[in-house]
């Protein structure tokens, strides 16, 4: 085999076996609860059972006297421990109402689950025992758990100081005049949808251990988090621990889906209690606690109107959102719905766009990012509205989509951003072929004809997604306080193995594998010789962590820059060693060759030369280690077509997903198996919103779906295997041509499924249904349409 042939053998594009698996499959993972520190004590948080209550007093006498108790505090007793409230990093408007939010409530509890006191004891069980002995004197107050009720006159006010539950109103408009487009429209549809509140439920609940060195004031925080770097900055500000003395470690993290993109009260409390007691303090969230204390997602009323020609060409989209913030603003609570603000026009070529979002306080767990964050909501609204338009025009939903899909790129969205690349028609064509659309319609017609109890429906979602968060300048313009860049370091060790440091923080996404694939290809190092390090602020000091499908879109772009820097430096060393000019060297995957000769030096050899430094070019620093920081100039724009087929039992109302076809375009694929896995999981969360999951509160503000018994995360038994394919339209703005993939499934799936349910119910005259499309909702929809 010649050098050139070797060089063209690439790992990118292959399903390289996952590096993560050996540990995780054999019980050798290290999740927070797996970590024990000598002398460790346990924290338990006392939570308000009331959605809204004045705290008249907290009596800790019995708790402090209980077996094994080390300390116990009320919210007011810890008031002086905070240097700043918990972080809210996205004040979306200048006049936003932003309440102070501390780790424990001192005056009022504002949602069921709001922490009001904390105990520290010798064991998990003793901490729970002592927490039960804390006596809190509550004065229950009327609560509000519905966004529209919260804005009504006389509604209970969540934060008295504002005199209103309105948090902010944020507008966006672009393209041609929307009012004029609606005035001249031949057809309009106006729809109103409810995005139910969801509980993210990663399989690993949260967990924290804070450990101090009292002599120096150093603090190490282990936390089940997607954002150790952002947590370090904000927890340093909140607790007064100097950032230079605070080390945050996210070890193995058992899923996040946005719910661990957060800085939580328990992280701050553990630091403060470790500092107060001098002991390592551990807290592990219970699942039922997770339902209350970990942020929720979605929860909004969507009003969307389309203006169109008689033929069905959509000209304008107008959107108004009313969104529950819950009781407090957490790290990006107000901004989360705005992540969808640019894409309520979907993958369609429209002329005018207007959008307005109002955030509203309610007596509920705060909302924040949940997989897709803003974009699933947007896709749901536009995809359902397009179907509504198709119904009104009596057109096939596929034909209507074909008429409107964006077909030329780059494309300037009416909302103001530019989609760099895509081929939406190609994904639609392929998906229809996989489905056998004509065959499906025939079978559907036969069932309708014979009045079958079990009706079939098909639903489409031709989506685009805006991800890869995010260009720092745009974030700044949107008043987000941090940047959107990412960092990567490549370090050659003298023996030729390589450490890759990424500032992104995986929690299931397979960074160890895919980052190694890229480095192996670009530097000609063996896949097994590469270790990818992440999630520890002392090991990887620079980073912005993982959310918004950014690790590939930005983290790997940074990684590619770092490999370029490595190659550049190694090339100087190789030219020096081979005694030729740099321009005489040809580089291919790890090897420099003097053009036209068989004289070569590998990057590894250059790395060894850089380490011993006996003979380096003048002025060149020893060691082969390079860091690159990459700030994207644009967002990443995946897109595709998802098709759901459901069978609805018209008598019982049971809707089952029977087929699911997904054709995505995520540009270059690094690892097909891993990309498929991301899509599978994403689809499942989208299907779950459509058919199963809902956080339900009763009239008192009590969460009645607070465990996995009532909150219906679907199992394998409820779902089919999905049929996947891809088209590849490379991104011109990514060094590998790749686009984000972590959220596509969730963004696309929900409207496809609900559109399918409505298609199945079309013979009964049903045109609307709320999510989840439960048996009772389906049954009622049929009854109402009949009457």
């Amino acid at each position: 085999m010649t050098v050139t042939e070797e060089a063209t053998q690439t790992l990118v594009g292959t399903s390289a076996p996952r590096k993560e698996d050996a540990r995780l499959l054999t019980g050798q993972g290290s999740f927070v609860d797996d970590i024990t520190i000598p002398g460790m004590v346990w924290m338990a948080v006392v939570r308000s059972p009331y959605a809204h209550a004045r705290i008249r007093g907290v009596d800790l006498t019995k708790a402090r006297a209980a077996e094994g108790v080390v300390a116990a505090f009320s919210g007011s007793e810890l008031a002086d421990d905070w240097m700043a409230p918990l972080p809210m990093a996205w004040p979306v408007t200048e006049d936003i109402n932003n309440p102070s939010h501390y780790a424990l409530a001192a005056d009022k509890a504002r949602y069921a689950g709001d922490g009001v006191a904390v105990v520290v004891a010798a064991s998990r069980g003793l901490a729970q025992d002592a927490a039960e002995l804390v006596e809190v004197d509550y004065e229950p107050l009327p609560a509000v758990t519905d966004v529209e009720a919260a804005l009504a006159d006389g509604a209970p006010i969540v934060h008295d100081e504002f005199g209103t539950n309105r948090c902010y109103t944020w507008p966006l408009a672009g393209g041609e005049d929307v009012d004029a487009l609606f005035a001249e429209a031949e057809v309009t549809v106006e729809e109103r949808y409810r995005q139910q509140r969801l509980i993210p439920n990663p399989m690993e609940p949260r967990g924290v251990i804070a450990s101090t060195v009292p002599a120096t004031g150093e603090v190490t925080l282990y936390t089940s988090s997607q954002i150790p770097h952002i947590a370090r900055v904000t927890l340093a500000l909140g607790t007064g621990v100097p950032e230079s003395k605070l080390r945050v470690i996210a070890p193995d993290v058992g899923g996040g889906f946005g719910s661990k993109l957060q800085v939580y009260p328990e992280e701050a409390l553990a630091i403060v209690l470790a500092r107060r007691t001098g002991l390592p303090v551990k807290w592990i969230e219970e699942r039922t606690e997770n339902a209350l204390a970990t942020h929720h997602g979605r929860d909004m009323i969507q009003e969307i109107a389309l203006a169109a020609t008689a033929e069905g060409k959509i000209t304008a989209v107008r959107v108004r959102l009313t969104v529950s913030m819950g009781a407090y603003l957490m790290i990006i609570t107000p901004g989360t719905p705005l992540l969808g603000a640019w894409v309520y026009g979907g993958a369609y070529d429209i002329k005018g766009y207007s959008f307005e979002c109002s955030g509203v306080f309610t007596n509920q767990t705060p909302t924040d990012a949940y997989r897709g964050a803003g974009r699933p909501e947007a896709t749901y609204a536009i995809e359902r509205a397009v179907d509504a338009l198709a119904r009104k025009l009596d057109k096939d939903p596929v034909e209507l989509r074909r008429l409107n899909l964006i077909s030329e790129f780059p494309h300037d969205l009416a909302s103001g951003l530019t989609v760099d690349s895509g081929d939406y028609h190609a994904t639609l064509d392929r998906a229809l072929e996989m489905l056998d659309y004509d065959g499906f319609r025939r079978e559907q017609a036969e069932r309708r004809e014979r009045g079958d109890t079990k009706q079939l429906g098909v639903g489409f979602s031709t989506y685009l997604e805006m991800c890869g968060l995010a260009p720092s300048r745009i974030l700044g313009a949107l008043r987000y306080v941090a940047g959107g860049w990412e960092a990567a370091t490549i370090r050659f060790l003298p023996t030729g193995t390589v450490q890759v440091l990424t500032g992104t923080t995986p929690h299931g996404q397979s960074h160890d594998t895919t980052f190694a694939q890229v480095v192996a290809d670009r530097l000609g190092v063996g896949y097994d010789e590469i270790e990818v390090l992440h999630g520890d602020t002392s090991v990887v000091p620079l980073g912005m962590d993982t959310y918004g499908s950014r690790s590939l879109a930005i983290g790997i772009a940074a990684l590619c820059s770092a490999t370029d820097k490595i190659v550049a430096k190694a090339q100087r060393i190789a030219a020096h060693g081979l005694e030729v000019a740099e321009a005489d060297l040809q580089y291919e995957a790890g090897t420099f060759r003097v053009r036209g000769t068989d004289r070569t030096m590998t990057v590894k050899e250059a790395a060894f030369a850089a380490w011993h430094a006996h003979d380096l070019p003048d002025g060149l620093e020893p060691a082969l280690e390079e860091t690159a920081v990459y700030d994207p100039s644009v967002f990443s724009w995946p897109g595709g077509t998802h098709i759901a087929v459901v069978e609805v039992d018209a008598e019982t109302g049971v809707a089952n997903l029977v087929r699911y076809v997904a054709v995505d375009d995520v540009g270059t694929v690094i690892n097909p198996q891993i990309v498929d896995g991301q899509v599978h999981g994403g689809i499942t969360q989208g299907v779950a919103q459509a058919l199963y999951e809902e956080a339900v509160y009763d009239e008192n503000g009590t969460l009645v779906t607070g465990s996995l018994v009532d909150y219906l995360v679907p199992s394998a038994a409820e779902l089919p295997s999905y049929e996947l394919d891809r088209t590849v339209t490379q991104s011109p703005n990514h060094p590998l041509g790749a686009k984000g993939v972590g959220e596509t499934g969730t963004i696309a799936a929900t409207p496809a499924v609900v559109n399918a349910v409505l298609d199945a119910l079309a013979p009964y005259g049903v045109t609307d249904i709320d999510m989840p499309a439960s048996p009772e909702r389906v049954w009622r929809a049929i009854q109402e349409a009949r009457s």
Partner: protein, 153 residues
């Protein structure tokens, strides 16, 4: 305190336990076998699945005292050091795990299933995994891994 004796992954252990100590915490905190995870409080998610006398059970819904005299297998005991059991191998090859938190439970549930039903259909696999929740994979590759395991075991 009650004295119990049980075999875990082939090794006999004797211990004094509080009656309220759950088997899962006995395994994790006494024996350091942290591969068995806790995912819920209500016996709903299966993350804590281990084999008790060869059958899948939720170790979070079992007192350590109830397992007295029993033979427990955890994910750590499925194969020898450095080896993968065919079910583990199939999960690896089929990319049936992402974050890995639910994985030990799924692997143990699969081992138990294949013992009772060596050649399950896809529908039977899906039904048999009704007590295990995964939030990452959408189950597609887990089902494939169980099919591969069935062929291999």
């Amino acid at each position: 305190m009650r004295q119990i004796a049980l075999t875990v992954n082939g090794e006999r252990h004797e211990a004094d336990v509080e009656p309220r100590e759950l088997l899962v915490y006995f395994l994790r905190e006494r024996l350091g076998l942290t591969g068995t995870h806790v995912g819920c409080d209500t016996s709903s998610c299966g993350a804590c699945t281990v084999l008790l006398d060869g059958e899948s059970v939720n170790s979070c819904t079992l007192l350590a005292v109830q397992a007295d005299g029993g033979d427990v297998t955890t994910i750590e005991g499925l194969a020898g050091h450095g080896q993968l059991h065919p079910v583990q191998q199939a999960f690896h090859e089929q990319h049936a795990l992402q974050c890995g938190y639910c994985t030990p439970g799924f692997v143990m549930a699969t081992v138990s299933l294949l013992k009772e039903q060596p050649e399950p259909t896809e529908a039977e696999i899906r039904k048999a995994l009704e007590g295990n929740l995964c939030r990452c994979t959408g189950y597609v590759n887990i089902v494939k891994a169980v099919q591969q395991s069935a062929a291999a075991v």
